[in-house]
């Protein structure tokens, strides 16, 4: 409710419509900055961490400890030409913008480390965030089709199939948590974990959600839609310049959002011992979860798409549904 705060602040000086407009502008600027800063710093952590696993240094030259390397990369992407011929103009250009907007919406809605630290407050913010996550299979399919390239089309089909499979698993895991807490509001879910975190009630759902989250993020090893070895870049193959940069941004935003969701749904969000403020607890937990989300990329081989989708339908989905039933019985 940073928006409400800015609005009330503005009301002291100007009339109501003007204050509202000002609050909208300021909130959007904050959200934009957050959306743009996530790939810079999370991306830096990702690259440094990968470098340590691979006994390399990672970025060192731009900024202190190479901290601004991704910033430089995005600036470089801004200056690049678009080289794509023979594409379907509308779908080709619509997808990066839509994906970036979806991540922008998630940034707007999610609480950034406290019950009143979300930029906009909506009663059912968990569902809205899920919708923003779930829009991507459609977009991936659209991009794969619109690029008019065989590799991208295979990638698009794979992406749509994979994400659609795992999004069902995600929503069922979310429902189990919501059932237990009786709320679709992230602040409500966190506050209902005061006695015991949900990881202890629903350990299996946590594992399922973690795997499904990895799958929807399309990070390696579950990056079959992009599969740089076989499909070169899958559905991203024709994109260049900042259109590709927008994918980069949305990838990292999704990484952060999934990590934050895991922390809020299963690890008690900003609840913790009292010697640290809640926001500090939240970010410590988020960072730890983020590290665990990053590790598989560098140590596992990529499963085949049919193996992976079969795993999703045959194992994860039944387990998730079973857990939902068990959670429902417990609540009753």
């Amino acid at each position: 409710m940073i928006f409400d705060y800015i609005d009330s602040l503005g009301l002291r000086f100007v009339s109501a419509p003007l204050a509202f407009l000002g609050a909208v502008v300021v909130t959007f600027i904050i959200a934009l900055l957050l959306t743009a800063m996530i790939p810079v710093f999370v991306g830096w952590a990702d690259r440094k961490f990968a470098a340590r696993i691979q006994s390399r240094y990672g970025p060192v030259y731009v900024g202190p400890f190479g901290l601004l390397q991704n910033f430089a990369d995005i600036v470089k992407l801004l200056g690049k030409r678009f080289v794509s011929t023979n594409v379907d103009w509308l779908s080709f250009n619509f997808v990066p913008i839509a994906l970036a907007s979806a991540s922008f919406i998630m940034v707007l809605l999610i609480p950034w480390g406290g019950p009143s630290l979300s930029l906009i407050s909506v009663p059912y913010d968990l569902l809205f965030i899920y919708i923003a996550l779930a829009v991507s299979p459609l977009l991936v399919l659209l991009a794969g089709w619109g690029e008019n390239n065989k590799y991208s089309m295979i990638g698009g089909f794979r992406g749509a199939a994979q994400i659609a499979t795992y999004e069902i698993v995600i929503i069922i895991s979310i429902i189990s948590v919501a059932l237990l807490s009786g709320s679709y509001n992230l602040s409500g879910i966190v506050s209902s974990q005061g006695s015991l975190w949900y990881i202890f009630y629903l350990p299996v759902v946590f594992v399922v959600f973690f795997l499904a989250g990895l799958a929807t993020m399309e990070r390696e090893p579950f990056d079959m839609p992009e599969a740089s070895q076989e499909l070169q870049a899958g559905w991203k193959v024709e994109y260049s310049g900042i259109k590709y940069g927008l994918f980069l941004i949305s990838d990292y935003v999704r990484l952060v959002i999934v990590a934050m969701l895991i922390v809020m749904l299963f690890f008690g969000g900003w609840l913790g011992l009292s010697f640290l403020p809640g926001i500090a607890w939240f970010w410590i937990k988020t960072f730890i979860v983020m590290v665990f989300l990053m590790v598989p990329r560098w140590v596992f081989a990529r499963p085949r798409i049919d193996q992976f989708i079969r795993f999703g339908w045959n194992w994860l989905l039944p387990i998730a549904i079973l857990n939902l039933i068990v959670a429902g019985l417990v609540v009753i």
Binding site: I154, V299, D306
Partner: protein, 366 residues
Amino acid sequence: MEQKKSFRLNIGPVHPATHGVFKIVVDIDGDTIKRAQTEIGFLHRAKEKIAEARYFSNYYPIVDKLDYVSAINMEVLYASLVEKAADIKIPPRAAYIRTIMCEIQRIMSHLIFMGSFGEDVGNITSLVWTLRERELLMNIIEKISGGRLAPMYMTNGGSFYDFPDGISEDITKAIDKIEERINHEYQSFFLKNELFLKRTKGVAIIDQEMVKRLGITGPGMRAAGIKRDLRKDEPYLCYDKVDFDVPVSKDGDAYARFMMRVDEILQSIKIIRQALKDLPAGDYRIKTPWMMKIPPKYTFVRQETPRGEMAMYMVTNGDTKPYRLKIRSATFFNIRALEEALVGEKVADAVVTIASLDPVMGEVDR
């Protein structure tokens, strides 16, 4: 309107998974390959023709770039060919030096294979790790010969330089480290990694019948269960004086081919240890004239390179240059298996299949 059931996908010639400039045209139905056709010749540099214009001692830089991943094996092969044609008997120290260098190069080549195979399966870290280990040996090659990828170390009658002082400690240290890494780090990375096993076991089976029909050699052949290794069967250099095993598997799938290489690295380490211990003193080279003449004859030499049996056939006519040189490339025959092995596989497995054959296109196109 006619409904198309399959569509045609051109993998290559510039594709990260083809290990060079190599093209495969596949017809795919959904995600399954119905028909595969290989196209080669993108890296043709007329190596056999160049040989006819070069003195016998001047062909080494060219032969280095034949199979650029295992250059020393190529050099030794050509040196053996010339020496056999000219009736030169190399001193024992030279033979030992060549054996050690060949095995070092074999380990390096197999490490590259492990890395690129892991990378094609989808694990980027494997490539970085194996290159890290390869660098240890690369430094040794650099210390010995002065070169890295194309060392140009061998010459007619031995090698250009003797081993520098203290190199045997360096080699021992490096191979100890590699052995330890293979036995521990790589185990957890490849062999105990469930996703890796899932991707490689039972994929792209090349059975004995196919091996015999297509002339596949090297680890691909031994993975299918045929125990044949020229180092053991027709010992050259000093392979009859060292003790080593020939690893064989029954399965013939991508995983077996991977395991063959891993086992061969361990066997090569064993050979290097023994050869270093027995390394005799004496001359490392017999002086041969720069422009020597070889009487008219036909000479054939075959040796076991990391990719299989490589052979050279030379016709001389009493001149200072060969009349004709024919190279039998191992990879050329190995990749013929692709057209059959790929049918029925998924597109994702095609990459694994290609990588498991370890093609180096410099050798195929010559």
